[in-house]
């Protein structure tokens, strides 16, 4: 929501909660805030898990044909049959986290902290809280609870609206 008519604003609907998909919304939100935009994030469905105090984000190669990891000097994808073996998801997650650290990419916890610090407004979807039986005490402080109308009222005033 714009503070005044000159301030640009951006909103996004965050619907995914895997390690890889957690990046685009937090990168864009922190950068937009750094560029002086008013930013609002609406966390719904699996995206809502990104507001938990304790993040345990994972990435799965299962059904993710585009996921290739740099290994042994080449890029290796994984057939679904292999990706479905117990332990493979944990291994892929560990590998991704290793790459993130090695390449100087911020952690999601770090980006989320910077978003809050930069006054990014966060709305936690009340319906999803009920649906998945999330407890308020498990969620970080800062986000407000709201629903579709809360988001839409905000989105009508924004210059940029994204669905991620």
């Amino acid at each position: 929501m714009s503070k005044d008519s000159n301030t640009k604003s951006m909103s996004m609907i965050v619907t995914k909660g895997t390690l890889d998909w957690a990046y685009p919304p937090f990168i864009l939100a922190t950068t937009a805030a750094a560029m002086g935009l008013d930013v609002t994030m609406f966390f719904t469905f699996y995206g809502l898990s990104l507001l938990k105090k304790k993040l345990n984000l994972k990435v799965s190669p299962l059904g993710n044909a585009a996921m290739e990891m740099p290994m042994f000097g080449m890029h290796i994808g994984m057939p679904n049959l292999v990706a479905s073996i117990p332990g493979v998801e944990a291994a892929a997650t560990a590998m991704m986290k290793g790459l993130i650290k090695k390449k100087g990419v911020a952690s999601i916890e770090e980006l989320r902290g910077m978003a809050l610090e930069a006054d990014v407004k966060m709305i936690a979807c009340q319906m999803t809280m009920d649906l998945f039986e999330y407890k308020l005490e498990d969620m970080i402080e800062g986000p407000v609870l709201g629903g579709a109308a809360t988001y839409i009222e905000n989105a009508t005033k924004c210059d940029v609206n994204l669905f991620i």
Partner: protein, 75 residues
């Protein structure tokens, strides 16, 4: 020599921009901030950042794999 120096080497997008934004707060209006980075994406990003925020990009240099930028704080 810039008033404030920020070492953003080894950091990837969007950290150089986020750290620069933070560091700019410690720069007086009209003062300068120099950023040293290794993220090649920072070249375009600092141009866009400065255009959007009204700060002036005085210098953008590449020395091998190291990039340096000087921003004059205008806002």
């Amino acid at each position: 020599m810039a008033d404030v120096l920020l070492d953003a080497k080894g950091l990837n997008c969007p950290l150089p921009i986020l750290r620069a934004k933070k560091a700019l707060k410690d720069v007086a209006m009209g003062g300068t901030l120099e950023i040293v980075a290794t993220d090649p994406g920072a070249v375009k990003d600092f141009e866009a950042f400065c255009r959007s925020t009204g700060n002036e990009l005085l210098e953008s240099k590449a020395d091998g794999k190291v990039f340096s930028f000087v921003i004059k704080r205008m806002s």
